[in-house]
Amino acid sequence: MADRISLCMIVRDEEQNLSRCLESVAGAVDEIVVVDTGSTDDTRQIASEFGARVHSFPWNDSFSDARNASLERATGDWILFLDADEELAKESRDVLRRLTAEGTAEGYFVKIINYLGGEGWIEPCPDLVFRLFRNRPDYRFRGAVHEQIVDVILEKNSQARYQVAEDLVILHHGYLNRQIQEKDKKHRNLELIRRELAAAPENRLLRYHYGVELYRAERYEEAAAELIRAANGIDPQTIYLPKLLRYIVLAYHAARRPGEALEIVRLGLGLFPDYADLYYYGGLISFEQKDYARAYDFFQRAVSLPEQPAYYASFHGVRGFRSYYYLGQLAEIFLNEEEALRCYITGLQDNPHFTAALESIVRLLKPHEDPVYARDCLEKLCDLCTPEAVLLMAQVLFRQSAYLLALEHLERVTGQGEVPAEILLWKAICLVQQRRYLEALRIIEDFGPGHSLYPLAKLNKILCFWLQGNRRRVRALVEELFALGLSADTGAVVGLLRDSLSRRRRVPEVALGKEGISLLLDIVMRVLDLGEKDRAKSLLAGLSPECLGKNARDVGQLFYRYGYLEAAEDYLRLYLKNDPGCAGTCFTLAEIKCREGAFLEAADFYRRALTLDPGEPRHYIGLIRLYEKTRREILREAVKRYPDVPIFRELLEEQFVQQGHTPADG
């Protein structure tokens, strides 16, 4: 006769989950033993409906005791242990029978797929757990929190052999849509394990769990120390070693000790050279350290690795979208936008819910410069079949100040049904940016004084008239807005709007705080987006010299972004006077000078940037491009001056062939 299988469980208040679990094993096991530790809902009844033998066991702060109570009552030859929020995968039912029939091992590590809910999507995270073993009276759980049975079996039966059965799969839904552990529970667990560990300081596994709990409690230094202790002298065959190593890396990283973290990555890769998570975190840490060479190597390796074995418990996406995202960032740092785009697109294809990649793609397509091209690309790339997707895209476009495209998308959504007020206001802003003031005002008027967005709506109304140079209306509206009781900063910005239209000469004396500056910069950006350079400058002219000097870098960068090189240069030079050590400002000035064809000044600024911050690849690249551009100019000049000498034309063409574009590109 075939071996009999008992399913053992402990439950409390699991009416939500239990039936899914028991349905999944119906017919796959021969007996169901459920130990209830004090449910107050319908758990017991549901269990009975599925033919389970339900026993009560008073909770005594020990998971092991409760589990063992269920084992006591099992009569089968094999024990399968499940939690109520787990289920047996459909395809695994036959596997279960086959494994117990073969009976070549004393127990099996089986694959568990943890579903994690985070960042707006569900990600599967596989791992190995020990859940299937022979039913013998001395095989009992041990440990109050992280109850274990593997080492107990080995102690009792030194002949025992385990096997890994990755085709037996348990699905775990428990981490979905709720916090993994509430705070007080975390602390309670920590204290329980600490006590247990004090009684058994040699217990490596327990120390590992203790380190993990410390990590979860955000006590990273201690976590790293305990985890290192757990790892010292460990048998490399230990099934949880990969996870242990990753936790050490995470703990060191969180404790801001990147050097140690990278050293563990190195050691870990010596043992598990195909462990994607170590490459991923190695890459992440190197990236943060600005060690781009190493970061690149790590991420490249991560994306080239095969499917990870279950006991690595590899995080979702480390071989895919997560690493591709950073490869994209690296490509951008090396000014290779094409490659960056490729990486982000690959990442997005790997995980269509990964908004960070989408955001980067939209940014790189420069939708405010070339909306038509950007629209075409995005249409090919994204499937915008649901209103949610369209709205998300609109949001991304809006954030990237691509107002025309954002408006197109918003119009698709706002045409149908109830639309949140915030989205309507975005639409109004987009309309303002198209100079469709009347339509914008129509939306804005709908916001009554009681609405939380009223001040913002009002501000946009002021902008409508300000952009049309309507001094009278602006003044009146500003007074209305003041009457609402604005913060000092916001009031000052609104005052700037009003006063910039005044014909009287003003003393530049407005000093803004952080909030005011960010509001002002937002307005300046929108004004520049409309091509109103002089209006933008008049607005800034009201700032006190000190306040302008402090913020001139951000101002200059905005002017640069919208192609106003001269004004950008003025602001950036002003900033450099205050902060001569700012490499980024030197770089932008170099770019401006390079575009203007002023070789020497450009070279000076590039060299300054490079000297101030030799870690930034773009400083090298800028200089290289400058030399190449100047060389092209020399060659062109030579072609003109010496038309009979063919070599110059040849050299020019050669350079273009090398760079893969035609001479017409200039």
């Binding site: 060479a293 690149y296 030399y627």
Partner: protein
């Protein structure tokens, strides 16, 4: 009575070396016997100043016969045999102590160190039998690479000193001697093909000639046939075999030899070093690191093994740094370079790597602070190297600081340093300081070379002292090697002053003019725009005029300028490749 020691040597045309050799043995020997085999120079005269025992012996293509003739003229109890290009270092040991003791030894191996021409700290050590009792039992054998025959090995001792220093030959002279040796050796080997010593020497000479493929069979045969009793020969034979295979690109075979022989001689440091070098060449840096570490663990090998100084220390440390660098373990690499520099102050190569590492990692100012804090600027030689490196990297301000911080603070620098400092200062925006220093040089009668003259004119142009510049530039014209530069400078002066050129150089001189112009432009492009008080406009004007001059000069000028810009881009790109490795490929 204490035993006496006589120096016996054979010489021919050694007027350049002989005096130094004979000076070195003053007081160490009681008698000097010199046998001349046909000098055409002042060798005999020089010999006569040190001894009246100068004899003539007609050369008959047999080194042993000549040497034995010299020994026959020696009356002392012991014989010391030296060549004219060798010197005895009496500070490293005492011949008297060797011959006076009662050990029963009748002969001694003395350490012979070969200086390499490039670097004084880098030398190889062999043991040679050069001190022996003056008896019929000790006579030379072999027409070439003659050896003293040893009848009773137990009667031969190994002395740690005194060391014999063998001078490096100039390349030409070395090849002449090699040619002569090879001819003799081949004749000898033909009559005595089974002699492993001859095979060994043949291999060494072929290798020295750059004919590794011919050396290989000789060295292989020598290694097979020499026994451990002949370790003095077998050890260098093995090393030369490894070097030979390496030269032929047969790295795996060379590694096999290293592996096999290091098992046989586990204390032989140099084998581990060579093994490390081989793995390094194969790009197997992790393994190479293990070999170099083993070489360091070994320490200096026992005296019987021929040994290159430093394989147990600074050479291995240098390579360790390089391997770590390749593996991206930069901090470790830095540590090894520092250690190498500390253990052999005269070996400056690691400083180049250290500089690049620091520059890539910390940027110019960070690198300067680091190197200064590590004490490198306190040593004039290193400070000079670092100053050059900073200047080349485009930081003349830091180049000045390298010299000014410690070397200059300790007093007026020597002429060579002062000359460089003038140039660094001019392009760091400190023409005034530079001209002062230049005056100082003139007053002390220091040599003013062409480069310095050019630099001075540039300094005057930068100060808009065109009249002074023109006078100096015209005086350059009088130097035969200065005409290209003079042309370039006169044009630049004229362009800066009035925007017009002055004449066109003859076509034969055009290349020199272009080169001089580019050199000035290159230096002007180094000036530090970030230094307070430096006005970049004067440099900018000079660069613009130089570029314009080249473009208008001729197609050749254009080509040169374009090539120059390409090279500049290439240099930055190389720096990027160095710093970012594979990631640099992201930008192509």
């Amino acid at each position: 009575m204490r035993p006496t020691i006589g120096l016996a040597m054979i010489v021919r045309n050694e007027e350049g070396n002989l005096a130094a050799c004979l000076e070195s043995v003053q007081g160490a020997v009681d008698e000097i016997v010199i046998v001349d085999t046909g000098s055409a120079d002042r060798t005999v005269e020089i010999a006569g100043r040190y001894t009246d025992k100068v004899y003539h012996y007609p050369w008959d293509n047999d080194f042993s016969a000549a040497r034995n003739y010299a020994i026959a003229q020696t009356r002392s109890d012991w014989v010391l045999s030296l060549d004219a290009d060798e010197e005895l270092d009496t500070t490293s040991g005492d011949l008297r102590a060797l011959v006076n003791n009662n050990s029963g030894y009748e002969a001694y191996f003395l350490p012979l160190c070969n200086r390499t021409p490039q670097f004084p700290g880098d030398y190889s050590r062999f043991l040679v039998l050069r001190l022996f009792r003056n008896s019929a039992a000790y006579r030379f054998h072999g027409r070439i690479h003659e050896q003293v025959a040893v009848s009773r090995p137990e009667a031969v001792g190994i002395a740690e000193g005194p060391v014999i220093w063998h001078q490096a030959l100039s390349g030409k002279e070395r090849n002449r001697k090699r040619g002569r040796n090879l001819a003799l050796l081949r004749r000898a080997a033909a009559t005595d093909p089974g002699n492993p010593f001859l095979q060994y020497y043949l291999g060494v000479e072929w290798l020295g000639f750059g004919k590794a493929e011919r050396a290989l069979p000789c060295l292989q045969s020598a290694c097979t046939r020499l026994t451990d009793a002949q370790i003095l020969f077998r050890a260098p034979a093995v090393r030369f075999l490894v070097i030979c295979l390496k030269t032929l690109g047969r790295l795996d075979e060379a590694i096999c030899v290293c592996l096999e022989e290091s098992l046989r001689y586990p204390a032989y440091t140099d084998l581990f070093f060579e093994g490390g070098v081989l793995f390094e060449q194969k790009g197997e840096y992790e393994i190479a690191i293990r070999w170099f570490k083993e070489a360091i663990n070994c320490g200096p090998p026992p005296a019987v093994f021929s040994h290159t100084n430093g394989t147990e220390g600074f050479l291995s440390l240098y390579h360790l740094g390089y391997c770590c660098e390749k593996l991206g373990r930069l901090k470790e690499a830095r540590g090894f370079y520092e250690q190498a520099l500390a253990s052999e102050p005269g070996y400056v190569y690691p400083l180049y790597n250290l500089f690049l590492l620091c520059l890539a990692e910390k940027g110019p100012h960070g690198a300067f602070d680091h190197l200064a804090a590590a004490g490198h600027l306190a040593q004039p030689e290193r400070a000079g190297v670092l100053a050059d490196l900073f200047f080349e990297a485009g930081y003349p301000d830091l180049a000045c600081a390298c010299i000014e911080k410690e070397v200059l603070a300790a007093g007026f620098p020597d002429d060579g340093v002062a000359r460089r400092l003038v140039r660094f200062r001019v392009y760091a925006g400190r023409s005034e300081d530079a001209l002062c220093l230049m005056d100082g040089l003139r007053r002390t009668g220091g040599e003013i070379d062409l480069d310095l003259d050019v630099t001075e004119v540039v300094a005057l142009i930068l100060k808009e002292n065109y009249r002074g510049a023109k006078v100096k530039a015209l005086s350059l014209w009088r130097r035969p090697d200065g005409r290209g530069a003079a042309w370039a400078l006169l044009n630049l002066i004229s362009l800066c002053k009035s925007g017009s050129r002055c004449g066109r150089p003859e076509e034969s001189r055009e290349a020199a003019v272009i080169q001089a112009t580019l050199a000035i432009m290159e230096d002007c492009l180094r000036y530090p725009p970030w230094s307070p008080g430096v006005d970049g406009r004067a440099y900018g004007r000079l660069v613009e005029n130089a570029a314009g001059f080249l473009v208008r000069l001729s197609p050749r000028g254009c080509t040169a300028l374009a090539a120059y810009l390409q090279a500049k881009a290439g240099a930055v790109r190389r720096m990027m490749d160095y710093k970012y490795n594979q990631a640099g490929r992201l930008w192509r």
